[in-house]
């Protein structure tokens, strides 16, 4: 299972240290099971969850192919919810609500992709302004390979 999770980690880490990471994790898990039973096993997996959040999620969410649709859907859902909430207050029956639905949906449907794309581009621009001088040569080389 750890090998499967590892496939979501940064490519440079998997390429250079993947085999060692799997070995280290399996040894640590086995040792925890022997020494502390289930609490030990849970401790190892909980620590792994922290590493997953720190290393894998930034890699996955940096992909525009994932971020733009996800963000589009999220913004669309929020706008629809707000509009439906407003409509329910002012439209007395379900029938009138259904009549208004096309208009309610149209504006969010066409505007959210642009909003989502603008947010992604803005966040990428901010990332580029980060001080890269603190990274090692290896990390800078890897970052430049994965540039948008």
């Amino acid at each position: 299972m750890y090998e499967r999770l590892l496939s979501l980690y940064p490519e440079y880490l998997r390429r250079d240290y993947g085999a060692e990471m799997v070995l280290v994790f399996s040894e640590d898990l086995e040792s925890a099971r022997r020494e502390a039973g289930l609490p030990g096993v849970l401790r190892v997996w909980f620590r792994e969850l922290g590493e997953f959040v720190r290393f894998a999620i930034p890699v996955q969410t940096s992909s525009p192919a994932l971020v733009v649709p996800a963000l589009t859907f999220a913004v669309f859902a929020v706008m629809i919810s707000i509009e439906m909430g407003v409509a329910l207050r002012h439209l007395p029956t379900a029938a009138t609500l259904l009549q208004e639905l096309p208009a309610t949906v149209t504006i969010p449907l066409f505007s959210t992709p642009f909003i989502a794309f603008a947010v992604v581009r803005t966040s990428r621009s901010r990332t580029e302004l980060l001080d890269l001088s603190q990274l090692t040569e290896w990390e800078r080389a890897e970052c430049s390979k994965s540039a948008f």
């Binding site: 880490l13 240290y17 085999a19 070995l23 590493e51 090692t136 990390e139």
Partner: protein, 115 residues
Amino acid sequence: MIMSRSDPPLPPATFFILFALTSGEKHGYAIMRESRKLSDDSFQLGPATLYTTIQRLLDSKWIEEAPGPEDGDPRRRYYRLTKQGRWALDHEVRRMEALVKKSIALRLLSVGAKS
């Protein structure tokens, strides 16, 4: 990488990996175990943190790869401290020692007090 008095403290992962290697060359899992032991279980290194930090230390030439035993697992790589790494660790330990002395002088910490 040359350290000076104005350099910030070493991150915990860096410090404990260097500390773990003072007793000789080790592979990744042994470094992880030794770090946990040295920190009295208060600091846990995961594989990703461990190897990201190892790569940084290799780039900084504070550690280097060591040959390891001939009959060892080929998947394992062994690492050892370099002179620069030993110096950096020594610098950090002296910084901590100075802090402890200041804490005692300011009566934040009693000499011989048990936690």
